[in-house]
Symmetry: C2
DNA sequence: ATCCTGCTTTACGTTAACGTAAACGTCAAG
DNA sequence: CTTGACGTTTACGTTAACGTAAAGCAGGAT
């Protein structure tokens, strides 16, 4: 094995690696950038992705799985690294968090209801099987 | 108060009432019908909605809130009143149920993670406030 | 008879989230 | 030096889920 650089000077990734790892296309990655969801470094013309971008991508994809539109996802994840500086800002952020939480909890209620219905439905099916 | 019909001969609704009650548009209701998600009775040319349609609409809207595409929602709710007759059918349905459950549970994991992150993020904000 | 209200169909428009193709720069390997 | 392998921009295409007219029927009120 080749020796590693002793000072790991912050790892970076290419767009191909990112796409591969997150199982999406280059196009999708650039699309998220167009919408301002990520903003990779540029070395000349080429995009260079850092851990920060990967974190954001993970959040984006989870947001998608949860059914949020990309624009909304952007405002949400922007919250996370907003400059939590002035008091007014902080209070605004806290309010936003409350909204988000309410939204997510409503979804969880829906989800739990759906799961419960699945259960009772499965029970009916199993009963039919024995008959 | 006017006297009610003693034999309540199964209540029905017009498209306007349905749209109003579920807070959606006539267009959306018809759209769901085009995709085969509901199939109201026809009296002449006019659509007549029964309780069955209302049940389905509720399921549709919940599916939407959970981020499922309409086509998928259709196959799901069709399951609910599939002719649970022959054994082979039943086993197929049970398999489908398992898939659905896996899907929903994955979503719940995502959701719970998101909520957890919101919590820790809120904590950080509150800490900043005291500083 | 005519007008209004509610319902209908037909059909084109719109937004979101990419897909897909074209056309071009670049750098290391053959 | 030319050929790939990757990367880039530009731009039109596509699917989903309706929105939005346009145009017409049907039955009750005026």
């Amino acid at each position: 094995m080749a020796s590693r650089t002793v000072l790991e000077r912050e790892q970076t990734w290419t767009i191909a690696q990112i796409a591969e790892e997150f199982a999406i296309t280059h196009r999708a990655v650039r699309h998220y950038e167009e919408l301002g969801l990520i903003s990779p470094e540029r070395r000349g013309t080429i995009r260079v992705y850092h851990r920060r971008d990967r974190t954001r991508l993970a959040l984006i994809l989870r947001g998608k799985r949860l059914g949020f539109p990309l624009e909304e996802i952007r405002t949400i994840i922007d919250l996370y690294d907003a400059p939590r500086g002035r008091r007014s800002q902080l209070e605004y952020v806290l309010a936003q968090i409350d909204e988000r939480r309410a939204d997510l909890e409503a979804r969880r209620r829906d989800l739990d209801e759906a799961l419960a219905e699945l259960d009772t439905f499965e029970a009916r099916c199993r009963a039919d099987l024995k008959a």
